[in-house]
């Protein structure tokens, strides 16, 4: 099966050539590539031998895997994943225990230097890395070992990309992202909690077609998907400009679909494709469902204050104590200054 091309595998699964070309055109469009790139993607993917992918899950909640597998229809994207040789994924694979680990080692050996490594979850460094281990091997050790033979690494989800929730204050396990450990491989971050499935497949398609990772932003994310803020692409944006805001989740503004800025929406500072690509086959995304963006594709999103606090509000702890102390201290200094002036004035008048 490994010797068959992606196109042959898809055709065996009942995907027509037209459907395959449609996928290639959509992928080119999503990646902001010129129309001619669709043909290149089709040609390359059609000829590509089943690529080997090793998927490592570390400190995570399996939400990223759920995101990819919970499509309500067998989409072309999911078939593309079927066509990929997913040689190791401890949630999806049938094998367990030592057999599963043997499969990983075999896959690494068979495609050394060529396989794509997908990582979801952060890596704990505390207690010599043994806060999380698989078959007695710490996440840290497994990542180093597997990354050594990878052609490229795709960090799936915010935990692998930026540390995510495990890294949130107080970070008890000393969690770090993949990029803090692996420095010598091309790394693509596909953040999100969870990320959008089509982003993942497009990144894989890009890598297979061009043999390189797509153009990335300063946080290692594909620019084509993470180039704009949610706010700029949000269908509720005109309400922001008109000054129409929902002030609670059940007021007239909320029912009218007005802007959720006042309810804590982090769309203005969050870069992702949720507002354009959407979820569940383009059905909806959190803002469309009535909840503000929580900024899950940004680093440290969990530690940026309440999800329900407007973006323009400050992030600080005990502000009443700080500001109250400042007021009392200022009043005391002012009183001392006034008393000192009074004494000076009295001395001056006595001298006269």
């Amino acid at each position: 099966m490994r010797d068959k091309t992606v196109l042959e595998l898809l055709q065996a699964r009942g995907v027509s050539r037209r459907g395959f070309l449609k996928f290639c055109a959509t992928t080119a469009s999503l990646l902001a590539l010129p129309p001619s790139a669709a043909a290149a993607i089709a040609e390359t993917l059609g000829k590509t031998r089943r690529p080997s992918v090793i998927w490592l899950s570390f400190q995570e909640c399996t939400g990223c895997t759920e995101s990819l597998t919970r499509a309500h229809l067998p989409t072309i994207e999911s078939l593309i994943f079927d066509a990929i040789s997913l040689d190791y994924h401890h949630t999806l694979q049938a094998a367990s225990g030592s057999a599963a680990e043997a499969a990983r080692e075999e896959a690494m050996k068979a495609a050394w230097g060529q396989y794509v490594l997908v990582v979801d979850g952060s890596i704990p460094l505390g207690e010599q890395g043994y806060y999380s281990a698989i078959a007695g091997v710490s996440n840290l050790e497994m990542l180093k070992e597997t990354a050594a033979g990878a052609a490229a690494i795709i960090n799936m989800g915010t935990c692998a990309a930026y540390g995510g929730i495990p890294q949130a204050n107080p970070n008890p396990t000393g969690a770090v992202p993949v990029s803090a450990i692996i420095k010598d491989k091309p790394i693509v971050n596909v953040p999100g909690c969870p990320p959008i499935p089509v982003v993942m497949t497009s990144v894989v398609a890009h890598y297979l077609t061009f043999g390189a990772v797509p153009e990335l932003d300063h946080l290692g994310r594909p620019k084509s998907f993470y180039g704009d803020t949610i706010h700029d692409r949000c269908y509720r944006r005109p309400f922001y400009d008109q000054g129409k805001f929902a002030t609670s989740f059940d007021d007239e503004g909320a029912r009218n679909g007005w802007c959720l800025y006042q309810l804590g929406c982090k769309g203005p500072t969050t870069y992702n494709a949720c507002a354009t690509v959407k979820w569940n086959d383009g059905t909806s995304f959190p803002i469309q469902s009535g909840h503000g963006c929580i900024g899950c594709s940004e680093p440290n999103f969990w530690d940026k204050g309440s999800f329900y606090q407007p973006l323009s509000a400050g992030i600080w702890g005990d502000r009443q104590a700080t500001l109250g102390t400042a007021a009392v201290a200022g009043a005391a200094v002012g009183a001392v200054a006034a008393a000192s002036t009074r004494i000076r004035q009295q001395h001056a008048s006595e001298e006269k």
Binding site: Y240, D241, G243, P268, V328, G330, T341, Q346
Partner: protein, 217 residues
């Protein structure tokens, strides 16, 4: 901690603390100053209304100076009203104050506030040009005048850049906007910007004094 978190967190907290410290210092310092006892017979016993009246009457130009200072008045009114609208009637700004004080009020459409912001900035630039080109104004201007102008203009300029996404990514511009506000807050109590609060005391005191003497307020 990235720049936006620093701006929204420690920078804003400490600049606000310094702002409140400075305001309390200056106000208490002025209010507790010794006042000379006036032994003359007062024309009016109750001088409160005289003080209040002068606070407002001095906001409107005297007829004698209207023509000669027309440009100055026009620029000053536009800038002050514009700044008021931008600071208090833009929803994100109101939400910032609500988060601090619990107070809230209706606001204007964001698009309208952008236009007012641009007008305010243009007026600020015109006022600077006038200050630098007018021989008398230029002579009496010092560091405080120019620095106070800069810390007032910067938040308006960075705010406009942020909403139009010009020059950098939005979160960077937003951070710079907040940091420029922090600079304004720190400078406010210690420079000429303090007139925004002291004008009430100085005019009120003068008005009360005039009322006592029976002079026009």
């Amino acid at each position: 901690m990235d720049l936006i978190d620093f701006a929204r967190g420690p920078a804003l907290q400490w600049s606000l603390a310094l702002f409140i410290f400075g305001i309390a210092w200056r106000l208490i310092g002025v209010l507790l100053l010794h006042r000379k006892v006036d032994h003359s017979l007062p024309r009016h016993q109750d001088t409160t209304m005289g003080g209040v009246r002068l606070i407002f009457s001095r906001m409107w130009p005297k007829p004698e100076f209207r023509q000669s200072n027309a440009v100055h008045y026009a620029l000053s009114y536009t800038f002050h009203i514009g700044l008021f609208i931008v600071i208090f009637l833009f929803r994100p700004h109101m939400l910032f104050i609500r988060d601090l004080t619990g107070l809230s009020w209706p606001t204007l459409p964001s698009g309208f506030v952008y236009v007012i912001g641009a007008m305010t900035l243009a007026t600020l630039v015109a006022m600077l040009v006038r200050r630098m080109s007018h021989p008398v104004l230029k002579m009496i201007s010092n560091f405080d005048d120019y620095f106070s102008w800069a810390v007032t203009a910067l938040p308006v300029a960075t705010g406009l850049l942020a909403v139009s996404h010009l020059g950098a990514r939005y979160e960077t511009l937003l951070a710079l906007h907040i940091l420029s506000v922090c600079l304004l807050l720190v400078w406010f109590p210690f420079g000429k910007l303090m007139h925004a609060t002291l004008f009430v005391i100085s005019r009120g005191t003068t008005g009360a004094l005039f009322e006592r003497k029976g002079a026009s307020t």
